[in-house]
């Protein structure tokens, strides 16, 4: 990667879920404290020179404008700079990316990233089901299309083209719920069987309720610094190796294809190039399983298997714990939860634990390189960040 090497020296989060007990500000403070506690040698908070706050739908759900002050106020960070980032479901990842770039550019030495989303202070049917102008459609405006509608059409097309079945998508839900059962930060900490997933009520055929990630409250935080300063905070940092961000049209009738997300392929290629790796070097990945079909298509788009063979790679155990490249060891969006602005930051928390060998029962053996993948809209914005346990040359 161009610029100065960047290290992650702390990462923490609150338990995701329906956090009726916590306000947005409570969650921000909780994640920030968890992150401070994760710094092995401790950190003087005055060392944090700037911060990035990822919150996606704050202005829609809270009916108020979210600014950097939403972080600066609760942790008494002012007058230091806070940039608020919003980029659909890539919000958290994009906050991490921009903070890392600021360090790599030599502008700041030590920076903070917080991702937070308060989605359950309104009824769940009022949040994403009744979307307002999020997924534009000329005849449904301003209400727009729903996410299950849009991803359901990709599932139908993939089933038709490659013989993928609902059963394969259910296997992904089963896997991620099992991983979530091992993660204390996870919203759902219980197993579900393939049969339960297939028997669940249909939301948007071919997607059933248990193919969908939950509406979630949560927050996560990461501290990054110049790699040559990392030893002041820990003897065991991880490193930010590269990042790719790509775009594609939002609305259904402007998509070029319905069996892959071209922006994922472009973003991954850019991130791999920047990190100096190939897909084969990736040991584990936290990917955007907003719906089970999204994860299956993403195996193919990230280059973990050939186009159209996602179901075969899955059945061979590739993404399972103990498999070739365990995917979503945290439980993913599906089980850990998807508080939009926090999701990408929380993926770094999982890699922080995995690449340091601290993930307990869900530890991936010899994990050295991991990636985070987020998708905003319907493959509209895709962001891939790559992390490693060894300092880049």
């Amino acid at each position: 990667m161009a610029g100065l090497p960047v290290a992650v020296v702390g990462a923490g989060m609150i338990r995701f879920g329906e956090r009726f007990d916590l306000s947005y500000e409570d969650m921000v403070v909780g994640a920030y404290r968890a992150c401070l506690d994760s710094v092995d040698k401790g950190i003087d908070e005055d060392r944090l020179q700037a911060a990035w706050l990822g919150t996606c739908i704050g202005s829609m759900i809270r009916q108020e404008t979210v600014t950097g002050a939403a972080l600066a106020e609760p942790i008494r960070f002012f007058p230091r700079p806070v940039t608020r980032v919003e980029n659909a479901c890539c919000t958290g990842s994009d906050a991490v990316r921009n903070a890392a770039f600021a360090v790599a550019a030599g502008v700041y030495d030590v920076v903070l990233v917080v991702g937070a989303e308060k989605m359950r202070d309104i009824p769940s049917r009022d949040s994403l089901v009744r979307q307002t102008s999020v997924m534009f459609h000329e005849w449904w405006a301003p209400r727009g299309a729903t996410a299950p509608n849009r991803f359901g059409q990709f599932a139908t097309a993939h089933m038709e083209a490659y013989g993928t079945e609902r059963r394969h998508m259910a296997l992904i839900a089963e896997k991620n719920h099992h991983h979530g059962s091992l993660n204390p930060h996870s919203y759902f900490r219980r197993d579900v069987s393939c049969e339960q997933v297939l028997g669940a009520p249909i939301v948007s055929w071919p997607l059933g309720l248990l193919d969908c990630c939950p509406t979630t409250d949560g927050a996560a935080a990461v501290i990054m610094c110049r790699a040559d300063l990392a030893h002041e905070f820990t003897d065991d940092p991880i490193y930010f190796l590269g990042s790719g961000l790509a775009t594609d049209p939002l609305i259904s009738s402007w998509k070029s294809e319905f069996t892959s997300f071209p922006a994922t392929t472009v973003a991954a290629a850019e991130a791999y190039r920047m990190a100096g790796i190939a897909a084969s070097d990736v040991d584990l990945a936290e990917v955007h399983d907003c719906f089970t079909i999204t994860e299956l298509i993403t195996y193919e788009d990230l280059g973990f298997c050939e186009k159209g063979t996602g179901k075969d790679w899955l059945e061979s155990g590739g993404p399972m714990l103990g498999g070739e490249k365990p995917v979503n060891t945290s439980g993913g969006l599906k089980a850990k939860g998807h508080p939009v602005g926090a999701t990408g930051v929380s993926q770094v928390v999982e890699l922080w634990e995995q690449l340091r060998g601290e993930a307990g029962e869900r530890q991936v053996k010899n994990a050295r390189i991991g990636l985070t993948h987020n998708m905003g809209g319907i493959g509209t914005i895709v962001l891939v960040n790559v992390f490693g346990s060894e300092r880049p040359a």
Partner: protein, 478 residues
């Protein structure tokens, strides 16, 4: 029995005077001099909360120590949802407080007070807060409206206090002179005042008082009073009747009425004097109590002097909701009247598309840069209405249309267009589908004009697909 340990009255600042009422209704006589009206940001529960907080201060009792909060009102903003619980929130009652609502009859304030005075088991756990509060209105063009009022009165009852309950009685009657149907905001009235005098307030109050006192003569009479009522009609000595002046200034404030009168009596009573309290509720009957003042009343805080703001009748009408107040538009409503709709309707309703002169890609809605080649020169063309399904889903959780689920939604390739490009497609709901298994990839469909949605009464007109006979290349079957 328990004792009264403190009390406080609350009357809202706004009043409608006889003169202001006469400007609007020259032929309707206000029975008193003025009536009270809740402020624009007040209701029975905020008035109850203010009286309750003041009574707790006067008694030196902390809200957290309360064992119960009893609130009597017939003008709660809710049919289902406890008003007493909201008052309990305001005064900071503990989680185990008995929170109970009284009302339905205007004697409800006294019924609640008697329940508190008699419940010694409850008082062992802590003091009880009792509040009567109401904002009462009649039909705007009826003289009864000018005699009603608004206010609240609160009592703190506990094992210790300065006023005790000697005895009590009740007398029920289902006879109704006034009533308020569910969903309405004012009382109705049976328009025969002479029958009301025979069967209602005057006769029931006088008979219940006679039966209750059995010849005894209390020092003070604290009764539910309507403006202009005469002491002799109730069989009461005029110099011992309190509250007549209050009724003439404030009006009949429903469940607050008899408690406000009792508070006025306690201001005048000396140690060892007795007070008879009697409340009346139309359609309910009477409640009677004989109270003994054991010691002089010394409140912890002095009551603030009452402020008055005289309303014009137009202002009164706004307070009552007869004239709507200004309001902001709801978020995102009526998209069909918005600039976005106006800019886009040529394409979205008129079905105009752009055909790229460089690469031939069909861009719908029309664009500035071609989706496929970034070309900037387009031919304005009518969007062909025939297409075939490229992919689809069946929406079971529906947020986008009035139709019943499952609702097919598809992205379709316009007939004659090439797949695998960005352009050449249309996405829409599929309508007129009786059996969703009719829909599959490749199904021929045709755009038909249909309603998309209704917001604030304004219809969003758009297009939906319906299945058609024939093939994807546009050749009709048969």
């Amino acid at each position: 029995m328990n004792r009264i340990a403190g009390y406080a009255s609350y009357l809202p600042r706004p009043v409608l005077t006889r003169e202001a009422a006469r400007e609007a209704w020259p032929r309707l006589a206000m029975p008193g001099n003025s009536r009270t009206v809740p402020g624009l940001d007040e209701d029975a529960l905020t008035m109850a909360a203010q009286a309750g907080l003041d009574a707790l201060s006067a008694a030196g009792v902390a809200g957290a120590s309360l064992s119960a909060v009893f609130v009597a009102t017939s003008s709660s903003p809710y049919v289902v949802k406890s008003g007493a619980a909201i008052v309990a929130d305001y005064v900071g009652a503990g989680r185990h407080a008995n929170v109970t609502d009284f009302g339905a009859g205007a004697h409800g304030g006294l019924v609640a007070l008697l329940s508190a005075l008699r419940d010694t088991a409850l008082a062992e756990r802590g003091p009880i807060l009792v509040v009567g509060a109401d904002a009462v209105f009649g039909p705007a063009n009826d003289p009864s409206d000018l005699g009603f009022g608004a206010g609240a009165c609160a009592f703190v009852v506990g094992a210790d206090g300065f006023v005790s309950l000697e005895r009590f009685d009740y007398g029920y009657s289902s006879y109704s002179y006034t009533w308020q149907p569910v969903g309405e905001t004012h009382l109705h009235r049976y328009d025969d005042e002479r029958f009301e005098r025979t069967a209602g307030y005057t006769s029931q109050m006088a008979a219940s008082l006679r039966d209750f006192l059995e010849g005894a003569t209390p020092d003070w009479y604290a009764l539910s009073l309507t403006p202009g009522v005469r002491a002799d009609a109730l069989g009461v000595p005029a110099d011992r009747l309190v509250g007549a002046e209050l009724a003439a200034e404030a009006g009949d404030s429903g469940c607050a009425n008899v408690l406000l009168t009792l508070a006025a009596a306690l201001e005048r009573a000396s140690a060892s004097e007795t007070i008879v309290v009697q409340g009346y509720g139309s359609g309910a009957g009477t409640a009677s109590a004989l109270l003994a003042v054991e010691s002089a009343w010394s409140p912890a805080v002095a009551a603030a002097p009452r402020e008055r703001v005289e309303l014009s009748y137009v202002q009164y009408a706004k307070h009552r909701g007869l004239i709507p107040l200004s309001s902001l538009p709801s978020f995102g409503a009526a998209y069909g009247a918005s600039p976005g709709w106006e800019r886009g309707k040529h394409a979205s309703v008129g079905l105009h598309a752009g055909r790229c002169r460089a690469c031939g890609s069909l861009n719908f809605p029309p664009r500035v840069y071609c989706l496929d080649c970034r070309g900037q020169e387009f031919e304005d063309v009518a969007l062909p209405r025939q297409a075939s399904v490229l992919t689809f889903n069946l929406q079971y959780v529906v947020g986008i249309a009035p139709e019943e689920a499952p609702l097919p939604i598809c992205t379709a390739l316009v007939d004659g267009e090439r797949p695998g490009r960005y352009g050449g497609k249309v996405a829409a709901l599929v309508t007129d589908v009786l059996d969703v298994s009719q829909i599959s990839i490749g199904t021929p469909v045709q755009l038909v004009p249909r309603r998309a949605d209704v917001e604030d009464g304004l219809v969003n007109y758009g297009w939906k697909f319906r299945p058609r006979a024939g093939s994807a290349n546009g050749q009709e079957a048969g």
